[in-house]
């Protein structure tokens, strides 16, 4: 890129500024947050109270609390009242323990109408904190595109209008130009982080946010994603082109821990474990989460052709060995925050783009994670790793969620293959499974907001509704095969054979994103949770444990994508108890508190229940919204049944069904009735364990127990008690 950044800098028009005395971090908190109103062009510095820290901890908790107070039950995602909140958490920004640079993004989702929360790497969250703010709240809408810039050393916040001739709209350019613009020199680039999106976020409901960090070794800007639920769509609707934070002076003491030795001790243990064992375990340092492709394929859990199947002979072409050999540069310090020796943020260097507006450019691609490979690849019947990298790049730079994109294309492809849509609908594109050219063209159309891309960009739920209304498609069949719940597209694991995971997906607050629970192995393979009560207990503990990461600024991967050598000999090895002890130690080491591992669950439980009640406030949050599409629970079609006939016949026989002489259609019906009934019983068990009513609403007793019995909460849930 060639850009006269000085000229571009000067061309940005100052609309408002705030000068402040940067607040010092004290035991993980600055105790202040920054509120920016884009409509009024005003700022406010708000105190972070002890009550906020006690009840909401930070990160997602702060995001939900600020959003709750900002919106009414009638607020829509594109109303000015909607906010985007970014917050790290008390542990976020330490450098002694792997995976401690995350921040949470919270906003009302264009897809679900409820709060979406994303946990994202990159440097923005910690640098925001060190600039003096535990959270950044943005409300209102600008008239024309603006940037918000925070200089944490000078104590300056500005809102600046982007000049009309500023020709950068997509992340790979925006992040680079703004990093260069605000860094004093090459060395200073590591002190700048840019939040941006792209044209895809302007023209679809599945826009996401990219959070940058400067890769010193590559001399390149890299990005991590706040991917799910349309965060980028809200961002662009508010006419924010970029957020930039600059802070110089990050050290191991920046987070001002109460007892740094605790962090060092826990960190040394985990670093040693990663160095010695990662290569024998998941090889995160070599291939990141891509190691899951071949595993999921082997266990029949890899989404293939809109989750009709769980494996494919060509899946080997997408294996981590292929990506390691041909795409991922090895031996690079690929952590997305200082001190992360898990270093799993792999990248492809010098990748020449074959399509689209940047065709011919050689770029660094932050690719590819498992979800992207499975979503844009196998789920669409495309087993070409080069395509995966190209699609990954364009999704990132356009600001489009790869998980939703893959799901949307897979759904469209199945509809095309079944004759539900045709070339008239797709604008001439032959959207068959495996057609990577067509899939890429839809992606580019999404960015341009035209053609079939405009329909696809609405997301699976609205696409389905469009096909039903405009084309007379069968609503029941389409509901069965559209992998969305609450309006959010499913992430990419086949949950058909795991009742616990069906609940893990459909009983989430945000929608079917596996960061709440990933129980497939525990349930389907290990058979460790056979009863409804066992499953309910797992669906109580694991979502709450995993919630904790996004309250504190932590990444989940170092918890269980590496395990101590003696983990097998510990009680409840699935919880990786030594790592749980580490987290207790580092929380106490940062905050000076004295929590236990039970307190971790209690901290999360408060926020989790509050989020459930927030869904209720927005008109959702009850049982009817926790119902999954049948494709996520069992075979919908004859072909699906026949592809696993032995398995399904055996299951029916073991359950006492007489299948002698029955047609596949009859057996499909039997299996479906059984599984749907099982799901309802699971829901009953989970609600009971969580302390919710039969309709899925937290009881008054539960909210009082948790200390979230605010008057407006009680008023709301009182109407829904049994």
């Amino acid at each position: 890129m060639t850009a006269n950044v000085k000229e571009l800098r000067n061309a940005h028009k100052l609309l408002a500024k705030l000068e402040y005395q940067p607040f010092k971090v004290d035991k993980g908190y600055t105790n202040h947050s920054l509120y920016v109103n884009l409509t009024d062009k005003t700022f406010e510095i708000k105190p972070v109270t002890e009550q906020m820290k006690e009840i909401f901890i930070g990160g997602r908790g702060f995001g939900l609390w600020y959003l709750w107070n900002a919106v009414k039950s009638t607020t829509k995602w594109n109303d000015p009242e909607n906010e985007i909140i970014i917050s790290s958490g008390p542990i976020g920004g330490i450098t002694q323990y792997p995976g401690a640079g995350k921040s949470a993004v919270v906003t009302l989702s264009p897809l679900t109408g409820c709060p979406i929360d994303c946990n994202v790497g990159g440097y923005f969250g910690p640098l925001l904190k060190f600039s003096g703010f535990d959270a950044l709240e943005i409300q209102g809408k600008a008239e024309k595109d603006v940037i918000i810039f925070i200089d944490g050393n000078k104590g300056l916040v500005t809102i600046e209008e982007v000049p009309d001739n500023f020709e950068y709209y997509d992340t790979h350019q925006l992040a680079e130009v703004y990093t260069e613009m605000f860094a004093d020199d090459e060395f200073d680039k590591r002190n700048v982080s840019v939040v941006s999106s792209g044209r895809g976020a302007e023209n679809t409901l599945i826009g996401m946010l990219n959070f940058s960090f400067y890769d010193v070794k590559r001399k390149a800007v890299r990005v991590k994603q706040a991917g799910r639920g349309g965060t980028g769509t809200v961002f662009r609707d508010k006419k924010i082109r970029a957020l930039i934070v600059k802070y110089k002076g990050v050290t191991g003491d920046s987070n001002a821990p109460a007892d740094k030795q605790k962090l060092i001790n826990a960190g040394l243990r985990l670093h040693r474990e990663i160095y010695e064992l990662d290569k024998l375990q998941n090889r995160m340092r070599e291939v990141g989460t891509a190691h899951l492709v071949e595993v999921m394929n082997d266990y029949d859990l890899l989404p293939v052709m809109n989750c009709q199947y769980g494996s494919h002979p060509d899946a080997v072409k997408l294996s981590s060995d292929v990506f390691k050999e041909k795409f991922f540069t090895q031996g690079m310090p690929d952590g997305c925050w200082y001190g992360c020796s898990m270093a799993c943020a792999k990248a492809v260097d010098n990748f020449e783009l074959k399509t689209g507006p940047y065709k011919g450019q050689k770029v660094v691609v932050d690719a590819a994670e498992y979800e992207t490979i499975a979503g844009v690849g196998s789920d669409c019947g495309i087993f070409d790793p080069e395509y995966v990298v190209e699609a990954n790049f364009y999704c990132d730079t356009y600001g489009i969620d790869t998980i939703s994109f893959g799901n949307i294309i897979a759904f469209a492809m199945e509809c095309y293959e079944r004759g539900i849509i045709d070339k008239e609908v797709t604008g001439g594109l032959e959207l068959k499974f495996g057609n990577k050219e067509a899939a890429l063209e839809v992606l580019h159309q999404m960015a341009r907001g035209e053609g079939f891309g405009k329909i696809a960009g609405m997301g699976v739920k609205r696409m389905r509704e469009y096909f039903v209304e405009k084309l007379g498609a069968d609503p029941k069949f389409l509901r069965d095969i559209s992998l969305e719940c609450k309006g959010l597209e499913y992430s990419h694991y086949v949950s058909k054979e795991s009742l616990a995971q069906q609940g893990g997906y459909a009983l989430t607050n945000k929608g079917p994103q596996h960061d709440e629970a990933w129980l497939i192995f525990m349930d389907m393979v290990n058979k460790q949770i056979p009863t409804f009560e066992d499953k309910a207990e797992a669906l109580h503990y694991f979502p709450l444990f995993r919630t904790w990461f996004s309250l504190n600024g932590l990444c989940k991967l170092p918890w269980n994508d590496i395990e101590p050598a003696d983990n097998a000999y510990q009680p409840e090895p699935n919880k990786v108890p030594e790592h749980v002890r580490n987290y207790v130690e580092i929380f106490n080491g940062v905050t000076g508190k004295n929590i236990t591992k039970e307190d971790i669950i209690k901290q999360s439980e408060r926020v989790y229940n509050f989020q459930r009640i927030f869904n209720l406030k927005m008109g959702y949050g009850t049982r009817e919204y926790d119902m999954p599409p049948y494709r996520s629970m069992g075979p919908v079609t004859i072909e699906e049944y026949e592809s696993r006939k032995e398995r399904y016949d055996k299951q029916l026989k073991d359950l006492g069904y007489d299948i002698e002489g029955k047609t596949t259609e009859e057996k499909l019906k039997m299996l479906r009735e059984y599984r749907e009934n099982q799901y309802q019983q699971l829901v009953d068990a989970v609600y009971k364990r969580r302390g919710w009513t039969k309709n899925g609403v937290p009881t008054i007793e539960k909210v009082k127990e948790l200390g979230i019995d605010f008057p407006e909460v009680i008023e709301l849930i009182s109407k829904y008690q049994d």
């Binding site: 266990y299 694991f542 097998a568 699935n574 990786v576």
Partner: protein, 65 residues
Amino acid sequence: MIWVNKEEMEYEEGMTVEDVLKKKNYTYRLITVIINGEVIPRDKYSTHKIKDGDKIDVIHIMSGG
């Protein structure tokens, strides 16, 4: 007959832990093998002989990226 994760499997004379894992296509690396309540060290998978009647649990540590 042996049981692997509560499912029946035909016993074969001389079969090892490694053979069982291959038959089940249990390729995930973060696993623990427990036979009749006893943890089998990873470096013994290719040599530890299964006995008829053994109850084998192959515990996969959850992951999910």
